[in-house]
């Protein structure tokens, strides 16, 4: 079969891959923010979650750029692989999140639907990132290390610690999905629009 680019090796244009990836990352982050805000409003008042030992994310060991200058200096290959690592680090926690939210008695239905949607769309985005990286830097990034999730840090039977562990997970998801969304938008400007968006 003849492909649009004339050859026989049909490929979705890289610009289209990035367009779809950015739409997905934006959507995942807005859902994650909504979930966190809804849970924060419902469960945090009076529980002083943050006064506890503070927030800790399983992905904090990944050396991600924290401001514009750092993001500007990092090579795009490294930034692409970072996005892939962060995404992979969320496979297991998202599966846990979907099952956990069903056991939280007063969790609003909207959080469950959004958790399922985030899990599904994150898988799609991960597939897309693997395509994009395969396109931009052919080479095996299959067995790249990522940040394994240690599992829920809650004391069995202690409802408050369980809610705090869930709060912590939602907070980290909101933060990491914002990072992914930011980095992808940067990469799209750099690689598709030659740095002039």
């Amino acid at each position: 079969p003849i492909c649009p680019n004339g050859g026989t090796n049909c490929q979705v244009p890289t610009s289209a891959l990035f367009d779809r990836a950015v739409k997905l990352s934006h959507y995942i982050h807005s859902l994650s923010s909504e979930m966190f805000n809804e849970f924060d409003e419902r469960f945090t008042p009076g529980r002083r979650f943050l006064a506890k030992s503070g927030i800790s994310c399983h992905t904090s060991s990944l050396n991600t750029p924290e401001d514009k200058e750092q993001a500007r200096q990092i090579q795009h290959e490294d930034l692409l692989n970072l996005v892939l690592k962060v995404l992979r680090s969320w496979n297991d926690p998202l599966v846990h999140m979907v099952s956990e939210v069903q056991d939280i008695r007063e969790a609003p239905d909207t959080i469950l639907w959004k958790a399922v949607e985030v899990e599904e769309q994150t898988k799609r985005l991960l597939e897309g990132m693997e395509r994009i990286i395969g396109r931009i830097q052919p080479g095996d990034s299959e067995n790249e290390i990522y940040s394994p999730w240690p599992g829920p840090a809650s004391i069995p039977g202690d409802e408050n610690s369980r809610l705090f562990a869930f709060y912590n997970l939602l907070h980290c998801l909101r933060r990491d999905s914002h990072k992914i969304d930011n980095y992808l938008k940067l990469l799209k400007c750099r690689l598709i629009h030659e740095g002039i968006c």
Partner: protein, 210 residues
């Protein structure tokens, strides 16, 4: 052997799932078996159509789990009977190329003459079903067409992303028919919506009619 079958086309209504249509060639009166097969840009190995039924006869439906945003699909049909087999040409697509939504819905017409210095026809509609517009997944462009019922020439108006349109200077006393359609990611127009009708008030009183 059987005549050559054909993949007629593939379409995505929502940029998430895909339906392909196919037709058989001549089967010479022999019982002939048809198989829809596909591979993708990544998985070179051939697989069989996951669902022959959801979209009706002579179709193949790829649900979310079987459709990908990120790669090309290559689909063909194989016809086999006692005398041998025959294959269709390969139909190639990526989901971005085949998005064609359902038409817009709830087309409503309202003639406004009080609140405005100039009377106008207010046409409103809502995006088609299954087109996830709120997430920005699909960006839609709309086109409205209208004509006097008794005439043949349509007046067509492109209105970008708006879901309403005011049309000024229509002929008082005439009956109008209106339709709207939409285009997803500037690829394919949907079918036209159902027709809506309205009579524009005013116009020559009966007694004045010659």
């Amino acid at each position: 052997p059987p005549g050559q079958p054909e993949v007629i086309g593939c379409r995505s209504y929502d940029k998430e799932t895909v339906t392909c249509w196919w037709k058989s060639g001549s089967d010479g009166g022999l019982p002939t078996n048809y198989t829809v097969l596909y591979w993708t840009e990544r998985t070179k190995t051939e697989q069989e159509c996951p669902d022959y039924h959801s979209s009706g006869p002579y179709t193949c439906f790829f649900d979310k789990a079987h459709s990908s945003l990120w790669m090309y699909y290559f689909v063909y049909v194989k016809a086999t009977n006692a005398l041998g087999s025959n294959v269709s040409d390969i139909y190639r697509f990526e989901i971005g190329d085949i998005v064609q939504t359902y038409p817009p819905r709830n087309l409503t017409l309202f003639h406004e003459s009080e609140k405005s210095s100039l009377p106008y026809l207010l046409v409103t509609w809502v995006p088609p079903k299954k087109a996830d517009v709120k997430m920005g997944w699909i960006t839609l462009q709309y086109e409205v067409r209208l004509k006097e019922e008794k005439k043949h020439v349509w007046e067509e108006h492109l209105v970008d992303h708006q879901t309403k349109l005011k049309v000024f200077s229509l002929t008082p006393g005439e009956d109008y028919v209106v339709q709207v359609r939409c285009k997803a990611d500037s690829k394919h127009w949907s079918e036209w919506s159902e027709e809506s009708y309205i009579k524009i008030p005013g116009g020559p009183r009966k007694r004045d009619m010659k």
